[in-house]
Symmetry: C2
Subunit: 293 residues, 2 copies
């Protein structure tokens, strides 16, 4: 039996509907949730992401602002802006779109965002809270992956989850979150990376395999356990002269090869991507709950 | 060939000798490193630990103070004391001995310690820095285990390390630290816990097995791979009517059973324990480096 394709778009849509109810309820009390995205520089992907986030906010009734620096600001100009936003009562969530242009220190920017408005969950204090299981904003992509697993009928509880890739945005926080002693998590977790020897000895024993290496179509059907659940976090552009844009988007999973072997798989696009934005919206609503009650 | 017994006491002694050189050098410039331990309540184990730490400081030439609250303070009295210590220029490191008596909030106390003086590495901001690989104070026990592995000729690099136990003091931070992309770490890490199914399927594929469950002598020779390196973090008291104290100290490893199978093993006592104190001293010297330069 070929793999079930997990519909991230549909699951994200369901989450947005739940959130819409909460936003409506706040609005009926005169409280309008507000999210600001700070955009620095001319990175095309960053501009696309920020636009997508802004549109998603508007659809939900969340007030959305995009603050653009047409020319690169100094570190202190950027920090001043963040601190101004920290003090605005009408703004509940702040995100600074990364990567920042060279010369600007992303870590220092994260440190200056009020942890109570840090809807990306990138402030080190919030990361620390995550590790020790204290209430915090959980980063959107790992949180989206955990929601996707649970809502698609593939709960990680008691399962062996193998994560490929130890990045700060996905692999590392996800490993910590999946191993937490709580409902929807409680998995045995193995974190693999470029230093791992005999990678397929690990991929072959995974009940759930999370692919977040950023290597196009690296994971094939011969590397997985029959029936395994595959979550593909990769979004790689590979040259495709036949397409209009000259490239196509592909994941870290060789879809055609794993399709007859896996039990379930998330597609690229339409898998993890839509969940990330839904979780950012969820964190924004949570920020209102924290700040307004 | 039976297992090599890793002598934690001797390795810790070597580290203390290195640190003594640094302390002497500071003292010759008129800088006396200072560590304060705050002791609340009458927990006998806490009193023993604090005394051991104070003595270890004194031997090295580190100024040591123990602040005792003979009666349980209020949360705000305790926090006031921490803030007073944050401002003292002669004190470079602050540790509050846990567990605190019931009714006192340990997490809030950790939040109030100046991160630059947080030699236990328990402030959430420092934990967050650890996760994303930024400079920070690393918690003493996991750091001691990594030093122990590297200095005993069992570097974790490229190895499969299986950690049993997801506590906030050992298992969880150790998993993160061992998977870092840096010399002395860079291991493939599996984190197992009470939610793990078929535990021995994981222990049997570990090159290095870290036992931090707090279950006396749970790991036997039939559960490990021949030649594996075992780190025993357990310090369990088990009743022993034949002994003077009425109990004996034992680890999570059934030593006699694994001895003929393992490649190397840390004993209890005399393995991880001495390393923990050595790393606290190391963090105190590091605190001086941060604050004085």
């Amino acid at each position: 039996m070929p793999a079930t394709v997990i519909d991230g778009k549909k699951i994200a849509e369901g989450i947005r509907t739940e959130l819409k109810g909460k936003v409506d309820s706040y609005r009926s009390k005169g409280i309008i949730p507000g999210l600001v995205a700070v955009l620095v520089g001319e990175n095309p992907a960053s501009r696309i992401y920020v636009n997508m986030k802004a549109k998603a906010c508007q659809k939900l009734g969340i007030h959305s602002e995009v603050i653009k620096f047409p020319e690169d600001p100094s570190q202190s100009e950027l920090i001043d802006k963040v601190e101004e936003l920290n003090h605005r009562g009408d703004i509940h969530g702040i995100l600074v779109q990364f990567p920042l242009p060279k010369g600007l220190d992303e870590f220092e920017v994260n440190l200056k965002i009020d942890p109570a408005k840090d809807v990306d969950g990138f402030h080190p204090e919030n990361i620390g809270r995550m590790l020790i299981g204290k209430p915090t904003f959980l980063p959107a992509t790992p949180l989206g992956i955990i929601e996707l697993l649970n809502r698609s009928g593939n709960p990680p509880e008691g399962k062996h989850v193998v994560i490929l890739g130890r990045g700060n945005i996905v692999g590392r926080p996800l490993a910590v979150m999946l191993a937490q002693k709580q409902k929807g998590a409680n998995a045995t977790v193995t974190l693999c990376h470029t230093g791992t020897q005999d990678l397929s000895s690990f991929t072959k024993i995974a009940d759930i395999l999370i692919c977040a290496m950023g290597v196009p179509e690296m994971i094939g059907g011969d590397m997985i356990k029959p029936g395994a659940v595959l979550v593909d976090v990769g979004t790689n552009r590979v040259p495709d002269p036949g397409s209009e844009k000259g490239y196509r988007l592909t994941g870290d999973v060789d879809f055609d090869s794993i399709y007859p072997v896996a039990g379930a798989v998330t597609p690229v696009p339409g898998g993890v991507g839509p969940m990330t934005i839904a979780m950012l919206l969820s964190n924004t609503v949570k920020a209102v709950e924290i700040q307004v009650g």
